[in-house]
């Protein structure tokens, strides 16, 4: 059964003009958000995006924009408590979640 998270939330943006169709984004995306159409990348599955940032980081032409982050409520809470940005810091022994 396919997992589905909230709709219409992702910050993912693709600038087709800058895209050269190198397919790096298609290669790195863990949720098959992109597909090649007419020699260029296209977002075909926007709601599957988990904002990991792999596509943007690996796009040599800076055609992709996304605000990357970890989708972790415990990280958000720990950020609130510390007055920081959400950070994946289970390693500090804050005792939340099994993510890392």
């Amino acid at each position: 059964m396919k997992h589905q998270y909230l709709k219409n939330v992702t910050t993912l943006k693709l600038n087709t003009n800058a895209c050269t169709g190198c397919e790096r984004c298609i290669e790195v995306c863990p949720h098959q958000v992109f597909a090649l159409k007419n020699g260029k990348s296209e977002i075909i599955n926007k709601d599957s995006c988990m904002e990991c940032g792999a596509c943007a980081k690996n796009c040599p032409f800076m055609a992709i924009e996304v605000r990357p982050g970890v989708g972790c409520a415990a990280a958000v809470i720990s950020g609130w408590l510390k007055g920081d940005e959400p950070s994946c810091d289970c390693s500090d022994g804050c005792g939340s979640g099994g993510c890392c």
Binding site: Y5, G71, C72, V76, S91
Partner: protein, 356 residues
């Protein structure tokens, strides 16, 4: 390489106690340790322990270069993290292959999480290539990275800074053999992140273990309230809470795709609501005279909220939630949970007074 040559010094310091080392192999850059591809009982026990949170943040191996079989300068280079659970998952799939493993220093964190933190990153790869003298060990200039390392890496930057071309391999180590035999091409199937029932189940102990502290605190407070005569809290409250906790930390993660709705807190709340009804029925609802409507409302407000909260925390362990989605979910869930639990506690205290 002949004995007595200048290259007999190890390239790096290897931790001696590794039971998974087979021997050494000489290279033009120095000695490299060979790793076994069969896991032993020690590895299995180690894996079981970290799944339960025992010594979990210190389950790591020395970063650097390792050999599988007797690789030569044309053998592929696989890049991975220095979390031992990750390293074991990789090496067990490499039986019969001749490859190099370049282990990055991710501070004992798995590839995907380390990529999110940036420790599995461009800078670390560049440093590690130079520290291990990789350019003298292999004559080719290709690195195979796990696909889930991509959020931390700029492949084009690695190429620019080191001359090594990055090829993203499969998501799962079990596909590595097929990937290499396939001419370093991942099939569409190899690129998909799955999150099946077993994958979710193995993560649930680490949902439960961190709740022990807060659970003991709650029981302590209830005990104090009992002493102060504001109770009486008893066996029902004990199993009601434990049940709600279990639903949030274990049952919701396991049943995740089958529970209606999308938000994790909602899924947990829904199962928690069923549990609250069960608790009230066990408590005599609605026939018995001892049944207390205020107390029942208290359970209905508190138990689903507890389950919802712990289910929400599973977002971090899941493989498909985005930070934008989590923030949206929390904007509603956190105030709702807080108000609901607050009201529920007031109801429980009132019901305590009525019974007194």
């Amino acid at each position: 390489m002949e004995k007595g040559s200048c290259a007999s010094k190890p390239i790096m310091e290897y931790r001696k106690e590794g039971n998974w080392i087979d021997g050494n192999i000489e290279t033009t850059a120095g000695k490299v340790q060979q790793v076994q591809t069969q896991l032993t009982i020690v590895d299995t026990v180690g894996a079981w322990k970290v799944r339960w949170g025992i010594n979990r943040m210190n389950y790591k191996i020395n970063p650097g270069i390792y050999a599988v079989g007797s690789p030569d300068d044309t053998s592929p280079v696989l890049v991975t993290a220095n979390y031992k659970l990750t390293f074991d998952a990789l090496r067990r799939e490499l039986t019969g292959l001749k490859v190099w493993i370049l282990v990055l220093d991710t501070e004992g964190v798995n590839v995907w999480c380390a990529a999110a933190k940036g420790t599995f990153g461009t800078k670390e790869i560049v440093t590690r290539i130079s520290k291990t003298k990789l350019t003298r060990i292999v004559s080719h200039r290709t690195l195979i990275l796990p696909q889930l390392g991509a959020p931390g890496i700029s492949a084009h930057e690695v190429l620019k800074q080191t001359g090594f071309k990055v090829v993203y391999g499969p998501v799962n180590a079990k596909d590595i053999k097929g990937f290499i035999q396939n001419g370093m091409k991942a099939t569409a199937e190899m690129r998909i992140v799955k999150f099946n029932t077993y994958d979710r189940l193995v993560l649930t102990p680490m949902e439960l273990v961190p709740t022990i502290k807060i659970t003991l605190m709650i029981f302590g407070i209830l005990f104090l309230l009992n002493l102060m005569g504001l109770g009486p809290f008893g066996l029902i409250d004990f199993y009601a809470y434990i049940g709600a906790l279990f639903i949030g930390c274990v049952l919701t993660p396991v049943l995740l795709p089958w529970i209606p709705g999308r938000a994790f807190a909602w899924k947990g709340w829904l199962l928690g609501l069923l549990w609250a009804v069960v608790v009230n029925i066990l408590n005599g609802w609605p026939q018995m005279t001892s049944y207390n409507i205020v107390e029942a409302l208290g359970y209905l407000l508190i138990l689903p909220s507890i389950s919802g909260f712990f289910a929400m925390n599973f977002t971090g362990a899941s493989t498909y939630t985005s930070i934008s989605g989590v923030l949206k979910e929390m904007k509603i869930a956190v105030p709702a949970i807080t108000i609901s639990i607050g009201l529920g506690i007031i109801f429980m205290l009132i019901s305590g007074f009525i019974q007194i």
